[in-house]
Amino acid sequence: MSIHIKNATVYDPVNKIDGEVMDVLVENGRIVTKLDTTPQIIDAKGKVLMSGGVDIHTHIAGPAINAGRLLRPEDKTIFLESKNGLHSGSGFSMPSTFMTGYAYALMGYSFLVEPAVPPIKAKHTHDELSDTPLVDKAALLLLGNNYLVAKNIADGNHDKLRDYVAWMLATTKTYGIKLVSPGAYLSWLWGKNKTKPKDAIPKFDITPSDIIAGLEDAAIKLKLPHPIHVHLNGMGYYGNYVSSLDEMKLPKERMHIAHLQYNSYGGDSWKNFESKADEIIKEVNKNAKLTFDVGQVTLDNTTTLTADSPFEQYLSQLTHQKWSSRDVELENGSGIVPYPYSGKNSVNAVQWAIGLELVLMAKDLSKVCLSTDHPNAGPFIRYPRIISWLMSKKVREKFANGLNESVLKRSSINSINRELTLYEIATITRSAPARILGIKYDGIKPGADANIAIYTPDDDKEKMFSAAEYVIFNGEVVVKNKNVVRSINGKTLHASMETKNPELERELQTFFRRYYSVGISNYVVS
């Protein structure tokens, strides 16, 4: 199977290609210099070509998102009929797995990261990922509120912590370390509803900052390709930018901050809620250790689901919406609350502006990734709309004046003139997330994996990026004329960890027999 793409205008920041017109040859799943077999021709004259999109933070698979799908039958406002060999599906803010794979492929994405895996339910996440076609995947392991992590940090034996983390990553076949409001869930279990970075965690007498430092140290020693992926404490509360800045100064080498928009809030009540994107981006611009994904609010009727149980309980009390919560033994909690964002709401309008401010005021876009923390700030199918806001001041101003006027008074979005180019869009959706993740991603270059998206240019950027004209995945055409035509399964990446601490494993054998409700043989993902 070989393909010859002719006269495509290529944007590929990985190889510094900015709008060159060139041919791209594909054979046996790779980009090649010459073809051995007669190829299928794709005339890409005047069309934009990019490598496959990378989404560094999207809740698409696992027990939390599935509990969300179950919670909201009313979220099924979009349906997918099963025809020509493709599966059916349903769901707007939380689509079912097949529909998720097809929708991401249609937008030209080829690599997704599920950022929250409770270790004891890792099999569930892997099972759902295997039912998400047309994309390669990786998953991050929740360790920020893990009992044994906190215990090892409290006892000060960091080497044992390193080996425990290595054993966990290998056992659950996951790719990196995820912290969600470290220490907040552990404190919440004993009645403490809000935890600041320097508060002592009951029963452990360590602080969230110790947990961040401890796990970063383990990540460095294990030479993990992706740095610790952190959901900062105080996410979602007004006035949380101060504690966020404290935690952003903690890392020794590298830290990736998830959905930074949720941690850039000022004001001391919901009434005078305001944007502090400028303060936050100032720290990111000067601190080389930090990278972030934005978590852009799209003002839809979506669902918030996060491992930050205390915040989700607070949100359910604030909004009187449904509330589902799952405490997982010795590992982490999670909470789900449907949330209908509205442009007329003074807080939501400013939240919308904060995300755009962070991206537009960032100096080095190779530290920035596009995301909506799907589905928290909005469903991933809104990425093209976000791109249209980032690429044109006129489009975002037109959208802004439909919102609550707080967006003008309490954020500086309308004073920013920057408009991102196609090259910069390719950075925040392709090269930046791939580099931060540390995955093998060579862009458009001979020898690279053939994951390619071809778009028809259009003034309406949302229309342009909503459906790619052609998408090639693993060297095969899977989207043609804006329709998914084939379904093939991608692979799930995981960190290659060899665990060489037999003494720790014996200890874990007895620990599991003593305190876990499942046998250790059932914990290992086969």
Partner: protein, 433 residues
């Protein structure tokens, strides 16, 4: 030879610490398993096991070949205009996936036992949300455990000794002494024998008792007697719940099957949500079969809905009360049925069984049951957890691997998944013709 870490394929406890002693590939002794599990391990070896496909010809069963059975099944399902795929709670998640593909391919219904067991708990969850936790949290943190309309000693025998009452957790080191066990039921059950508090309530009055508890928590006046309990008892129960460190309510069919059904459970979820303003409180529905929760998980991630899914428009539709198995059978909206690892003819209402008698039924099971007797085609089932490997989900939605310890008593198939896959491919073949 001794096999350890064996899983028990019977109830929602999903015990995975069983050990089986094999003597020349026959099950000799089973260690750690309760009496319900023991019956299943023994049944897997019993001569009653169905080992050959059977086809009904003028009222009597005739043995047929494996290929004929697959062809016959595919014939029935392709000819039907609206087929029902029912059961699934005692087979693997892998078999369920093929079942969903079958329902999608034939534009039929798929539903499981959860629709008429803990369906009301799921409907309650869909309108209020459920604060819940895994069984390990109960073991390590809970100091108050309430069994409401549930009698684990008889339905989930090892539940109290493995998870809720007797283990010594991290923050419940004294085991039994660190925990208060409360039973709320309409009769004094065996579980009540070993509980600290037992509240005997009038049948069909759970809803009123829950409203009374919510009013006490809101500081409101309640009448002298509600649901057969006097005001002091209700206030005492409310205070016990409010002042615990970490509380858990296990919800049984006493709540979901008494009058009020999903409203009882909805009211309970409101109560537990309110209790989370004082302390940490969670609910765990006592799911019956060992993989009934698995069907809800797999169906939800593949179609968006947990049970009662209808593909007749080519995409998933869901409306319990309209697309659930009892209603579609009572209205006669089905003209063929595949029943896997279940016995609807014994358990369904009369009106449904009358309709079942008129339509062709394919049943996949391990022993003869009233359903197989009424069927037109019987295909031997494989026991996931004894004859075959498979994934299953425990009552708290934790995924576990069912282990294979002996070979099935036949060689034409190795798992339910493989059987269903053959039927699926045969239907595809017929569609292409």
């Amino acid at each position: 030879m001794m096999i350890s870490d064996v899983t028990c394929p019977v109830c929602g406890c999903g015990c995975d610490d069983i050990r089986v002693q094999l003597d020349d590939s026959k099950i000799a002794k089973v260690y750690g398993v309760c009496i319900m599990g023991q019956q299943k391990f023994r049944k897997s070896q019993s001569p009653e096991r169905i080992t050959k496909p059977l086809k009904k010809e003028d009222g009597k069963f005739v043995e047929i070949s494996w290929d004929d059975a697959i062809n016959e099944a595919a014939e029935i399902l392709s000819k039907a205009s609206h087929s029902l795929f029912y059961g699934w709670s005692e087979t693997s998640c892998e078999a369920m996936k093929v079942g969903i593909d079958l329902a999608e391919l034939t534009h039929g219904f798929i539903d499981g036992q959860s629709s008429h067991c803990h369906g009301p708990s799921i409907i309650g969850e869909q309108s209020v949300g459920i604060p819940s936790c895994t069984l390990g949290m109960v073991m390590n943190y809970a100091d108050l455990v309430i069994y409401w309309g549930s009698n684990p000693i008889e339905s989930h025998p090892r539940h109290m000794s493995r998870f809720s009452t007797y283990p010594r957790g991290i923050y419940s080191g004294e085991g039994r002494r660190d925990r208060k066990i409360v039973v709320i039921d309409t009769r004094k059950t065996l579980t009540a024998n070993v509980s600290n508090l037992f509240f005997q309530i009038k049948p069909n009055s759970d809803f009123e008792l829950i409203s009374a508890l919510r009013m006490v928590l809101n500081g409101k006046e309640i009448p002298d007697e509600v649901a057969g309990l006097n005001r002091e008892e209700i206030t005492k129960l409310a205070d016990t719940m409010k002042n615990c460190g970490y509380g858990v309510v296990f919800v049984g069919l006493g709540l979901t099957h008494s009058k009020g059904k999903s409203n009882n459970v909805e009211n309970l979820y409101h109560l537990v949500r309110r209790l989370n303003d004082f302390t940490r409180f969670n609910v765990i529905p006592m799911r019956g079969h060992y993989n009934v929760a698995g069907l809800n998980q797999v169906l939800t991630w593949r179609t968006g809905y947990p049970f009662a899914v209808d593909f007749f428009r080519g995409y998933p539709c869901y409306n319990p009360g309209e697309t659930s198995v009892i209603d579609i059978l009572a209205r006669g909206e089905v003209d063929a049925m595949l029943s896997i690892s279940s016995d609807p003819v014994s358990h369904f209402p009369k009106k449904c069984v009358e309709h079942l008698a008129e339509i062709p039924i394919i049943s996949m099971d391990i022993v003869r049951t009233p359903t197989t007797e009424l069927s037109d085609l019987v295909i031997p089932g494989v026991i996931t957890g004894i004859d075959a490997v498979g994934t299953y989900y425990r009552m708290d939605n934790i995924p576990l691997i069912a282990k294979k310890i002996i070979e099935p008593p036949f060689d034409f198939t190795h798992s339910d998944e493989e059987t269903l896959k053959k039927i699926y491919d045969k239907i595809l073949e017929k569609k292409k013709k």
